[in-house]
């Protein structure tokens, strides 16, 4: 019974982490312009992240190391510094985009320009991290994230042709806007396979003191949680395809178009639901990314860390998330377009994948860390696939950004 509760909480949590401004924006753009054709990218990204999250949890439960600890210890500081810098940069951009997402939701709700909301949003997030515990943040905020299920409800109520949806799950070549198509595929993959997601997950496993008895729980949470998150993304994509596409909106380049999505189904409440979903999903992600930034630095240098400690007991750790949050709010406060920043940071995330995923291949096959719980053939094949995908993405991202970016 306790395990069941733990699994359902974990699933809810990972849904909260999965769905954020990146997956919402990329799915909406893809749906509007290409109909169901890019569903395969969501499905592929979800399968990849299931494997990586499962491995991150298994690594933490068996070796009692977070992924960051593992990379530094196994490869040494001089190798660790590259993924460290890459993830710090990518996380910073993603955090900025998430703050932008909440700020846009606040603008939609109040009519006051998003720029004014960036600092208050960062302050609220900081206050929660400063005073809150890990349990409060992990469970409380992600519980609210269930509101995003409204996209799945909406998608079902729109009665899509399920056969066409299934066809979209198989990769196919675009009939128009080829560069844009591939750029969107890359952004969707970047939004799904986020390093902060699996690194945060491994830190969470250590904070919750997982051991080997959690291996089953871990597998269930990784599989179910990420699939749920992927389902919601597909829901967003279907709704965007049927509502935005049908209204002649093929180019989502202004976030003001986005709330239109739910209005035909839920009327005025559709607007409210959209704003609430955007605000909560992005706020939850902002908390996780800011925390992950502090985890990464603290784990990398061996400082005391833990969200349950009082800030005065881990001053270095608390200072990192404090600085990160307020600095990340600055670009938004200066008026940088949150939607453009989101799409850009998702593509950059995809490009940074090799640096963070290659270590999985070594760590998860090293007896000294995972003993007999090392990767099987399927898991290793999945890692190698993600690495290959990561290398392709790293090479194509910049050209596609130039030719297909918004």
């Amino acid at each position: 019974m306790k395990k069941l509760l733990e699994i359902s909480l974990g699933v809810v949590t990972s849904v909260g982490g999965f769905l954020e401004v990146g997956s919402m924006a990329t799915a909406a753009q893809a749906g509007a312009l290409f109909g169901y054709q890019l569903i395969w990218a969501v499905v592929l990204g979800t399968i990849c992240i299931i494997f990586l999250v499962e491995m991150a949890g298994r690594f933490a439960a068996v070796s009692h190391h977070t992924i960051a600890d593992g990379i530094r210890e196994r490869f040494g500081f001089n190798a660790f510094i590259w993924p460290l810098l890459a993830v710090l940069l990518v996380n910073f951009l993603v955090l900025s985009a998430e703050i932008g997402g909440v700020a846009v939701a606040a603008e939609l709700a109040t009519g006051i320009s998003f720029q004014w909301w960036a600092l208050p949003v960062a302050f609220l997030a900081w206050l929660l991290l400063w005073k809150g515990t890990f349990g409060l943040i992990e469970k409380g905020v992600s519980m609210l994230g269930l509101v995003t299920l409204c996209f799945v409800v909406a998608a079902v109520m729109l009665r899509p042709e399920w056969k066409e949806v299934a066809v979209g799950a198989v990769p196919s070549l675009p009939h128009h806007d080829t560069a844009k198509y591939w750029f969107m595929a890359v952004s969707i993959l970047g939004a799904s396979i986020s390093p902060y997601l699996f690194m945060f997950y491994s830190s969470g496993a250590i904070e919750d003191q997982w051991d080997k008895s959690y291996l089953g729980t871990n597998r269930a949470i990784a599989g179910l949680g990420m699939s749920f998150g992927g389902t919601i993304s597909v829901g967003v994509l279907i709704v965007a395809a049927l509502v935005l596409g049908a209204h002649g909106v093929t180019e989502v380049d202004d976030y003001n178009q986005l709330p239109l999505m739910l209005i035909p189904i839920f009327g005025f409440w559709g607007f409210v639901l959209f704003v609430a979903s955007l605000a909560i999903a992005c706020f939850g992600a902002a908390l996780e990314v800011a925390l992950q930034q502090a985890y990464l630095v603290a784990q990398g240098f061996g400082w005391n860390w833990g969200e349950d400690l009082k800030p005065r007991d881990d001053p270095g750790f608390s200072l990192v998330y404090t600085l990160t949050l307020f600095l990340a709010a600055v670009p938004i406060a200066l008026g940088l377009d949150p939607l453009k920043l989101t799409i850009f940071s998702m593509a950059l995330t995809a490009a940074s994948l090799p640096l963070t995923v290659v270590p999985f291949l070594f760590l998860l096959n090293d007896d000294r860390y995972v003993g007999k719980h090392r990767n099987g053939v399927i898991s290793n094949a999945a890692v190698i696939f993600v690495i290959a995908l990561g290398f392709v993405l790293a090479v194509v991202t910049i050209p596609l950004q130039i030719f297909g970016g918004t």
């Binding site: 660790f80 400082w303 001053p315 200072l319």
Partner: protein, 119 residues
């Protein structure tokens, strides 16, 4: 046991299990006619910067001396004979509060973090 593989970059804790830092460097003693022997581990920003190269090491040492005084101009060392347990972490029989290792964290606590309400 292999020093570089099994010791370097490991998490260091003191006898109260407080996380002090990572094993950023190892100090070995060369002895005439006998194999070299590890006498201490080093940790802190200077030891870490030295691993990136001699130049970054010198810069960091100069910066640390400027910010923290002469006592901070060299990497922190913990004698190897104080090692108590090598597991997930490497535990030393010492109390971090009696060292200068956390000087900067304490400075942060007293001058920045501690002044923010609710800390």
């Amino acid at each position: 046991m292999q020093l570089l593989r099994d010791i370097l970059d490991k998490q260091v804790v003191d006898r109260e299990q407080v996380k002090i830092g990572k094993v950023d460097g190892l100090v070995a003693e060369l002895r005439q006619g006998k194999p070299p022997r590890v006498i201490a581990i080093e940790l802190g920003s200077i030891a870490l910067a030295r691993r990136l190269g001699a130049q970054p090491g010198r810069w960091t040492a100069r910066l640390a001396a400027k910010l923290g005084g002469k006592l901070q101009a060299r990497p922190h060392r913990i004698a190897w004979h104080k090692v108590r347990d090598i597991g997930v972490d490497i535990e030393f029989d010492m109390d971090v509060r009696r060292t200068k290792i956390f000087a900067w964290q304490h400075w942060l606590r007293d001058h920045v973090v501690g002044r923010i309400p609710g800390a």
